[in-house]
Symmetry: D2
Subunit: 278 residues, 4 copies
């Protein structure tokens, strides 16, 4: 168990009446408990809280008139991940994958697992089944891509990344997800906060469905798994953009932070420890 404090501040120059949809609030789930939370809009607005069903995703939506808008969020979270020894974590048999997990085998906008199926099988199809196979994919992706802020953009897909070998956390995640799906392992995108992320920002990582649960992986290796706080999950980054703007609003400033509380006893970083918080 550990306690993580997170927050962000976003400033927008809203230039016409605009509907803004934010996905910045920590999910509240059995393994990730909200101790406290504050969300402020300045100027004050009528803000609608949205819930997205089974995966715990939340959002906030507001119709905003032209103004300088400041959003500030902070929360304290208690993390109680399930842990397992990685060698004990099996892959789910194809015929046993639950109905609500099946969509995470399908290709999605930024994860063309249909195109990359042969690639995935040739590289990873013959490895021993289990947690280690997903770890091998993440290790491969991490080696394969050069971390390069600015080299990719919001329309870059896993196929693009496989060709260009460059990207940021989001791109690492999309490629790893595609390769997992390509060999029949359900995988999904997770947006969140990460303790000690450098430079500080929202983070993108993944979950793979193994042994009846979703396990965390960070193909970018920029975070420690025990310092991750989930905002939301989706098929890929398209589902969990931190802000969706329908109108005209320019992001003028963004700061994001996350840290362990002094009294928390974070798990030791251990490659052998499989972590599930879903």
């Amino acid at each position: 168990m550990s306690t993580i404090m997170i927050g962000n501040e976003l400033n927008y120059d809203v230039r016409q009446p605009t509907v803004l949809l934010f996905k910045i609030s920590a999910a509240n789930t059995p393994h990730q408990k909200l101790i406290s939370e504050e969300l402020h809009f300045n100027p004050r607005l009528q803000v609608e809280a949205l819930d997205f069903g089974s995966e715990g995703n939340r959002a906030h939506r507001a119709l905003v008139q032209p103004c300088k808008l400041q959003i500030s969020y902070k929360a304290t979270i208690e993390m109680t991940p399930e842990v397992a020894h990685s060698t004990d974590v099996k892959e789910a048999a194809s015929a046993q994958i639950p109905a609500d997990v099946l969509p995470y085998l399908n290709p999605s906008r930024y994860c063309e697992s249909d195109l990359l199926g042969r690639f995935a099988f040739e590289e990873f199809g013959n490895l021993a089944l289990g947690f280690q196979r997903v770890q091998a994919i993440c290790d491969w992706v991490n080696q394969f891509i050069d971390y390069t802020p600015g080299a990719t953009n919001a329309t870059t897909t896993a196929a693009d990344v496989l060709l260009m070998r460059t990207g940021v956390c989001r791109d690492y995640a999309h490629l790893a997800i595609s390769l997992c799906r390509g060999i029949g392992i359900p995988a999904r995108y997770v947006s969140g906060y990460a303790v000690n992320l450098n430079p500080p920002d929202f983070h993108g990582f993944i979950e793979a469905f193994l042994d009846g649960r979703w396990f965390l992986f960070d193909p970018s290796k920029l975070s420690q798994l025990n310092g991750l706080v989930r905002i939301g999950t989706g098929r890929d980054a398209a589902d969990v953009a931190f802000a969706t703007i329908n109108g005209n609003a320019i992001l003028t400033q963004k700061s994001v932070w996350a840290s362990h509380s002094n009294d928390s006893a974070p798990l030791p970083p251990d490659i052998q420890t499989a972590i599930s918080t879903a």
Copy 2:
């Protein structure tokens, strides 16, 4: 109200132990009521029925040993669509779109609405809001694409179709969905049966979210809306493939049919009638 009888027969040459997932059964919803249904596998198999929550999607899954497999399905359906005069159907305000509908604004594997947003706005952004705008998109798509069986394949996307101007019902649907999403109208893919489809086959069409409901459109204009029976809905065709094969099985024969019963009183085909069955 009308009664529609549907069915199909599929034959597979299964060459190794294979997990087969079928999405061929009619959804059972308030507007589409299952009167009777039969699904047979020959040889007899242990078949698992799967349900996919709120949208009424169903599937059947079986682990199949090498054999000549025959699947036959038939059902009788009572359709009680909601109808409205098309000019009465408004667009939903951006800030009013329900949480569970929002994902249908996101780009998906075969519907790159992020790439096509400007295209959509330049062509359709200035039309009067409402049902007619979606109809205008479907009409445009119908004119724009040359119906050409065999010109596209399972990886063809809306962007491909916009470049190549050729495709089948699935491609018409993907392009229309992308253009709807591009101007802020939630849209989704529907797989189903269509009365009098020529040549007979499974059909792909779309629903757009307007005025608080999902309304049917067929950009291919190969069907009449009152002859459609829903199998399932998804973000695009990736979610509702009639068969997903994990192993090695070759489709050797497929026949599909749908017809109005003699005593049904199908709605007159009427361009002014908006139909909702979701």
Copy 3:
């Protein structure tokens, strides 16, 4: 006949031994005569002048040691274009296109005329043949694309532009070339200088092969055809990049200019006048 003065100054921060290839010098052809020309490298370098055969393309190449490199070029050019009344300019019959022109019917890196053939035929296949058909393509491209500096990059292709409807002169040219080739009219990319271009820069435009000659068009409509000075021609922008860097050199400053001399009598801008300078 008119006289045009052109020039540019380029500054590079060369960080390791680097081979630099520049295509910045005006072509010297019967219709575009070099009156005077100066090209200086500072520091002084051994520079190799390259000639590229039949199309008049030139380049300069140097192996440069780490330094602050300044290139300055200026030239005075006498233009004696052939002019024709546009309605007199026929298309070449397919069987009459000369061997050395045939490659300009083939698709190239940024001009996927093979993908866009149907699009080209549906939009422009039924127009009356001749100069006016190329003009119609250029007019259509000009209307279709939103001029947006920064929206595209060096890997953007005509297909990308057709989807995204945004770009700069290079993108207008690539799309127009692709559509010409798509309906069987040879077309090529021209890099050059343009009088009164705003903002001043190198310019990209096109030539179409009609009636036995190459005629000038500017799909971006940012220039007047009688103010264009050719640097070089190619299948697309890949062939005429103003600088190709093999090593590590950063462009730190670029200025480009072109103006008519006081005593020149430029042709009146006239939509009916077809101009050939090749």
Copy 4:
């Protein structure tokens, strides 16, 4: 020195007046000498022979009225390749590449070397320079791709092949060319005949520019280099299609053959022998 006999027979159903352009005749160069050649069209036609300048490419063009058209070609060729020991073949220094070779460093329609530059450098940038580096690329491509007739088509590019890992000789060639260009080695596509090709067909292979000459490589490893007869070279397959059809003509039958004459003494197959016939 060896003697190779080649030929083909093509049958077309020409359905409307059509311009047909064939690139099926062996090039006639110092290292590949035409001993005899016959080209027949049935019915008899007025056929124009085209020559394409410095690279020795030839073509034949005819305007054909509706008919059943049969083209038959045969030729006897004397090959006198230059051979070298592969370890003696150096790479050309970047600053020494001749002007007429420079275009083969540029990306082309099916060889997106601009996109794949980083990939090429990461995989092959650190290998020892020389012939062996191109051989390493060809070996890698050969291992990487699954030879699969029908999996790709006329619009498939090197980037597609890198994602899908499947293709035919043309696809192997495009990927190898792209990777060569990506690390600064000029490379081009060669169409031709290959002795003992199985199944018999036209063949696609490559040349890389090393040490002042063009050397042959076959990334598909379906041929022996001493059994290759050049038809033509180009930036990629777009430039050397065996037939280009402007109108409506359907290929109904194609047969292609090539064999060593009895009295020829073909070079022993030897991985250490570098062969140049350009």
